[in-house]
């Protein structure tokens, strides 16, 4: 028994446990209420089903949330990712007419990188509040995307380009592999170089890290740059998936889901420690929630409300303070 409680304690300390529990609870709910949720189909050599949809539709969010994890570890935030995504998607589709695919992808990533560096410059070098600094690109970003598309929804019929978002590999949607790749790269960058240590140190105590010879500004710039590139990648996937670039609606509100995923994943908004695995779990939870709500047939107008309620519950359970006061009051009741 003692071992069990000790184990339970250890598990509770693990940040990853909460989003995983949340997913498990959601899946259990689905199993009872909408068993057909789990139906899978093998058609034309591809796997289809809600679970696959969650992974596929969640891919851009996963990629963006990975970048977001890094800036939040810095005690920052990047609310411009949706706009950057729109710029990259718009640019890619526009260039597709006259340039080869590799150049198009390169341009999408580069514009993401530039946007990230711009945010990084405002935040790290000029010391502007992250929320305000990235608000700039959030607002003008969509304008830039509009300029690129000329105010219209650009479409494309380029097969190769569409493979990125719609194609299949080994029976699974291709975006899943891109998300996996981004995760692995970032994870390796975190654990096989000193970047993880430097970012966690600089995010935890900027002054002390500077005294120890780390250059927090460089580290923060890097975090924002990576986030920009991630948004660029997501932009290409999304525009490829729908074979068009919509400057107004591509990736709208995605920054909010990404921030939420990071927080549910256990990374604190106060900076410091960050958990990439937690972020993935957080993203999958949010995506699974969205998909579940749709399959439940909830009125589209109340979807956001349902989502908000579930998220509030998850965040409350995650909060040490809430949990403790809850447990305490239960103990008191038991004593009586």
């Amino acid at each position: 028994m003692a071992i069990l409680t000790a184990l339970a304690h250890r598990l509770v300390k693990q940040k990853l446990i909460w989003p995983l529990l949340a997913i498990a609870a959601l899946f259990l709910f689905n199993l009872i209420v909408i068993p057909e949720f789990y139906r899978m189909e093998w058609k034309d050599g591809h796997l289809y089903g809600n679970l696959i949809d969650i992974l596929k539709n969640g891919s851009p969010l996963i990629i963006i949330a990975i970048g977001m994890t890094l800036v939040i570890a810095k005690e920052g935030i990047d609310i411009s990712v949706g706009s950057v995504l729109a710029i990259s998607g718009a640019l890619a589709v526009m260039l597709l007419d006259s340039y080869p695919l590799w150049a198009v992808i390169g341009a999408g990533l580069t514009v993401g990188l530039l946007c990230g560096l711009w945010n990084g410059m405002l935040v790290a070098l000029l010391g502007i509040q992250p929320m305000v600094a990235t608000l700039i690109l959030l607002t003008i970003g969509r304008g830039i995307a509009q300029l690129i598309t000329g105010g219209q929804v650009l479409t494309t019929s380029d097969e190769a380009f569409q493979f990125i978002g719609k194609g299949h590999l080994l029976g699974l949607p291709f975006p899943i592999f891109i998300a996996l790749g981004v995760f692995l790269l970032t994870y390796l960058f975190k654990t096989r170089t000193a970047f993880g240590l430097f970012l966690e140190a600089a995010g935890g105590n900027k002054t002390a890290s500077a005294y120890a010879g780390i250059r927090p500004k460089v580290i923060f710039m890097t975090a924002y740059a990576i986030t920009g590139v991630c948004a660029g990648i997501a932009g290409i996937i999304i525009s490829s998936n729908v074979a068009s670039a919509d400057a107004n609606n591509a990736g709208l509100w995605i920054e909010l889901d990404a921030i939420l995923a990071v927080v549910i994943g256990g990374t604190s908004m106060r900076g410091g420690r960050f958990y990439l695995g937690g972020t993935i779990a957080g993203t999958l939870f949010i995506q699974a929630l969205t998909t579940s709500i749709y399959s439940l047939g909830v009125e589209p107008s109340s979807i956001l409300l349902v989502k908000a309620i579930v998220v509030i519950i998850v965040c409350l359970i995650q909060s040490d303070v809430f949990r403790q006061s809850f447990i305490l009051s239960k103990k008191k009741v038991a004593q009586r």
């Binding site: 966690e200 935890g204 105590n205 890290s209 010879g213």
Partner: protein, 512 residues
């Protein structure tokens, strides 16, 4: 003497994961006494205080206030019961003004609005009592750690009502501040307050306290009348074996390298508003001391050399190479290391583990891509945990969970791990217990013997005199002299500092 017991704790136990911080500890504070709480780093002093004041929930035991059982759940609650505390890690708001910090949570009001005038006037009066001359309208961050500590004390003294607890309040104070603090403490004692006082300075214990309670490894050793306990006995109780003072001083046989090659030269190095241009050189294997009062420019000089602050005049030459521009990364590349005086702000990264804190500077020097393998990191960490006797269940413990003195040792380890050529130590033994202090001083001399240069700053003149082979004396941000050899004695240096007053006119207070 009034023997009435105001605060009594009995059978207190407290565990943290992997650590039994307190086991069955008893403690009784009388009315109108100053009671020292003594013990090695990690003995459980701060934990006991935190349990008494509701920061930590105790596992077992009972606390009585004037005979009545109490169980405060938070420092605020303890405060309401009349127990006011200055914790070891001072918790103030650096961007609020000094006055706001003193009155935070209890601003005087006039017609519903904050009465700034009264607040400022009252703050001035309080600080006057501690003989501290600062502008209460300035943000707190404007002032040194010492002033911040005094402000915290002033606040606690003002709200104290029956019991005042001070956890290492004097660790960054100079002799003069300490004596004004003691004056106030004695006065409060006369008024019937019970005061708990934690320090690692034995002299201070014998100067002000009436009784001493000793803890060791989280266990209660005993309570003694200060007058009846010799220093030797006290330390023996603390460390749990025989101790004599000459032991601690042994190994202080230092060589005085004069012929050594010059490692670093500062030529008229200065920064307006912070330090008057100063000349100095450090030889290989030399321990150079920087003496002076608070605000005399000791730390400022260290920061200029290490490139934390940018000098606006003068030159810096290291190993014969004149450097145009200095910043910490470059300093580290050139083989410099710097343990800052403000451990919490500029030293530890609280959320990270001991291992990560130790390898930080070494990794910064190696750069982003030559990541030190985890196995190697653990090796390094274990090496320094053993060498400096850092008290912790493992290197993977969060540094925030270490006791103050042990955190200080980790920061020292961080720089030792970089195997520096010049180590700048700003208050390296702040908050470190008697035994470890002697060991660290010995370590400094050993390092110097292997050819490492050391620049040491300490508010304890004794420490500098013991370690350094040459001492530069600063006053009011000016170098007023240098002593070495025979004349390197505490009283000579004190006299120089005092005389400086005549030579250079009045000081501009101990602010900044």
């Amino acid at each position: 003497m009034d023997q009435k017991i105001v605060l009594e704790a009995s059978g207190i136990s407290k565990s943290f994961p992997g650590v039994k911080a307190l086991s069955n500890v008893s403690f009784a504070l009388r009315k109108g006494e100053i009671h020292a709480l003594m013990g090695e780093n990690g003995a459980g002093k701060s934990t006991l205080i935190k349990v008494l004041t509701g920061v930590h929930e105790r596992d077992e035991g009972e606390i009585r206030l004037s005979g009545r059982v109490i169980s405060p759940k938070s420092p605020q609650e303890a405060q309401a019961l009349g127990i006011s505390t200055v914790y070891q890690e001072v918790n103030l708001c650096p961007n609020l003004t000094v006055a706001e910090n003193i009155f935070i949570g209890r601003h005087p009001r006039k017609r519903g609005l904050i009465d700034w005038e009264t607040m400022n006037r009252e703050s001035e009066r309080l600080l006057d009592r501690l003989e501290l001359d600062v502008d209460v309208r300035q943000p707190l961050s404007h002032y040194s750690v010492a002033v911040q500590q005094m402000v915290a004390i002033a606040r606690a003294v003002d709200i104290s009502n029956g019991i005042l607890i001070l956890d290492e309040p004097t660790s960054s104070l100079d002799a003069s501040e300490v004596s004004s603090l003691f004056k106030v403490m004695r006065k409060l004692k006369q008024e019937g307050l019970g005061i708990v006082f934690v320090t690692h300075f034995l002299d201070q214990v014998y100067e002000v306290t009436d009784r001493i309670t000793v803890l060791r490894n989280g266990e209660y050793v005993g309570t003694y009348e200060t007058e009846q306990l010799t220093k030797t006995e006290l330390v023996s109780h603390m460390i749990g074996r025989e101790w004599n003072e000459t032991d601690a001083k042994a190994g202080a046989a230092k060589e005085i390298p004069t012929g050594g090659e010059i490692f670093l030269t500062a030529g008229s190095l200065g920064k307006r508003g912070s330090l008057h241009p100063i000349d100095l050189h450090i030889r290989k294997g030399e321990v150079l001391g920087l003496a002076g009062l608070l605000g005399s420019g000791r730390t400022e000089l260290a920061k200029l050399i290490f490139g934390i602050d940018k000098a606006d005049e003068g030159t810096l030459t290291i190993s014969g190479e004149q450097l145009a521009d200095m910043y910490p990364q470059k300093a580290i590349q050139k083989g410099l290391g710097f343990t800052p005086e403000d451990r919490k702000v500029a030293g530890i990264v609280g959320e990270l583990t001991i291992r990560e804190n130790i390898v930080l500077a070494l990794q910064a020097r190696k750069g982003l891509f030559s990541y030190i393998p985890l196995r190697k990191q653990k090796e390094i960490t274990q090496h320094y945990i053993d060498l400096l006797r850092i008290k912790t269940p493992s290197g993977e413990q969060k540094i925030d969970n270490l006791s103050g003195g042990n955190q200080q040792k980790v920061i020292l380890a961080r720089w030792l791990a970089t195997q520096p050529k010049l180590l700048i130590l700003d208050e390296p033994t702040r908050g470190i217990d008697v035994g470890s202090k002697a060991e660290i001083r010995k370590l400094i001399l050993d390092l110097a013997a292997t050819g490492i240069s050391i620049l040491i700053i300490s508010a304890e003149l004794e420490e500098i005199v013991q370690c350094a082979s040459r001492i530069i004396v600063l006053r009011d941000r000016i170098k007023i002299g240098e002593v070495s050899g025979e004349s390197m004695r505490e009283n000579v240096i004190m006299e120089m500092i005092a005389k400086g007053a005549e030579v250079y006119g009045d000081s501009d207070g101990i602010g900044a």
